[in-house]
Symmetry: C2
Subunit: 317 residues, 2 copies
């Protein structure tokens, strides 16, 4: 059985692993693709040569489709895209920028393009750009979130109202039940990030993975609303930012507090005190590091059980 | 057909109309109950004598069960509860306080009690108090939201994990599709607020109802995070608060800016400039004032269609 998303990307399940800086390299992406989902290499934390190496390594261990996520705010975009084309990658997810700039060029080179948005006003831009699918990401997500703070429950129906394009829901999804819930809201597939951070194959530092298991509800906060909002695990660094924001710090002060390479320090080098630890709210229900293949089979099984339960048991009235 | 919530409250549909200050008087509550849901009179904006009048008027126009919502932070709680008992109301929803204080007393007087929480840590308190049901309210809701900012998509599965009690999902729910989505996440019923503000029977000022229709995505913001968080439509008053918060205003300064009777001014007297206009994010998909009976039949129909669609068409893979 297939649906619009699985057909579009030529995968078994409409489950996309979100591209995450410092966490989703070739090992995670290829494991997800081998397990029937769509793996994405997160190019946001990679120099062009590093991205090429990751793509080549992924190709060696999977013959299934995988893709690359590119946040368009980074300076090397053009070089990254040339490498993606040269290496024959067939899927690109773009985010944090205007989808018009690269979509057609990528498609002309045989690549399917999805663009990430966090509010329904950007649907029109995606349609004008001619993207193949839209990722709609709610406030609860761990990524770069929208200023509107729209949650997945309110965002997906609104995006669905505005487009007939395939919609991929992101934010707050880690289980099969949440996946089914997003599909009911109007999504054709889901993008899952946080759940895959706590996988054996994620390139995140083990300290960060363990912190993900420990973090409870209320353990994250959306920070840097004056710059580009991002959801962080609460720690000393995040508290420093919070204090600054509470006393009304300017953009310049916040940029200075952020400094350089905070995300690498936290997520890749494992400094839980001074590092930036990006994660979604759904972290509160993640309590085990597992191989990717188990994570995906868990999600698929729970999805099927939830669906059966809905049909036969609980929801009639 | 019934489920745990419809049986508990003896109603046709597991749809609860949220108690809302200045919006949900006897007319709204009785209309919801007459249409097969559970109507709640919002006592938060009522003096004891006013509540008695509303209960008596509701009893005259419906013989279906209805309830009263009491925010436990208000000073008149004891008097309100005595009136509820004297008037023979059979359902009370409590919020913003400790459920231990009143639950048993209410139950001893033949009343079913539900308590509203915004984070799963409070599940244990609800269980200790012996409530009959838990309302779990996400960040997107219009009410007094939790400090954890947990969204409905992440909150409901977490609450479900911690309890076997009936769970009512609130926040981001205005349609049958959103209702089904919440049921898939583990809820047994839904509480809907904002959608009922834009009803003919709501006691909200017509200016406020029209503003609800106009408000788009990103048109609300969670304010007063240093006091008790509440989601407001963006207007001059809200901007004044935002500016103060951005420059790091203290609790005292914020309390002074809030002043007295802001919510009444905005929602009941229709001052869209200086008034406080409480609403949920889901306001962005509400675009018509309708009679309550139509709102409920719309929700029920869409719920059934969404369920059929999921079973037969779209979601197999």
């Amino acid at each position: 059985m297939t649906n619009r998303i699985s057909r579009l990307f030529n995968v078994q399940y409409p489950i996309i692993q979100g591209g995450m800086i410092w966490c989703s390299g070739w090992e995670l992406a290829s494991a997800v693709s081998n397990a029937g989902g769509l793996g994405l290499i997160g190019a946001g934390s990679m120099y062009p040569d590093v991205l090429r190496e990751h793509i080549q390594k992924a190709k060696k261990v999977t013959n299934k489709p995988f893709g690359v996520n590119i946040p368009l705010i980074y300076p090397d975009t053009e070089k990254l895209i040339e490498i993606i084309i040269e290496e024959g990658v067939k899927v690109v997810f773009t985010s944090a920028g205007n989808p018009k700039k690269w979509t057609k060029y990528l498609q002309d080179n045989g690549i399917k393009v999805a663009h990430v948005i966090a509010n329904s006003k950007l649907v029109a831009k995606c349609e004008e750009a001619g993207v193949d699918a839209i990722v709609a990401e709610g406030f609860e997500a761990g990524g770069h979130n929208g200023f509107e703070e729209t949650t997945t429950m309110t965002l997906i129906p609104k995006v669905r109202e505005f487009t007939v394009l395939p919609v991929i829901a992101a934010g707050g999804i880690a289980t099969g039940r949440q996946m089914l819930s997003a599909m009911v809201l109007g999504a054709d597939g889901v993008q899952i990030g946080s759940r895959f951070v706590a996988s054996e194959e994620a390139s995140a530092h083990i300290n960060f993975k363990n912190e993900v298991l420990k973090t409870q509800e209320g353990g994250t906060d959306l920070m840097f609303k004056k710059l580009i909002p991002v959801r962080l695990i609460k720690n000393e660094f995040q508290q420093k930012v919070k204090d600054a924001e509470n006393r009304g710090a300017t953009k310049e002060e916040l940029t200075e507090i952020l400094g350089k390479a905070r995300a690498k320090l936290g997520m890749f080098e494992g400094d839980l005190v001074e590092g930036e630890l990006e994660i979604g709210q759904v972290v509160s229900i993640i309590n085990e590091i597992k191989p990717v293949s188990h994570i995906i089979s868990d999600i698929v099984l729970e999805y099927k059980v939830a669906k059966e339960q809905m049909v036969h048991v609980k929801y009639e009235f």
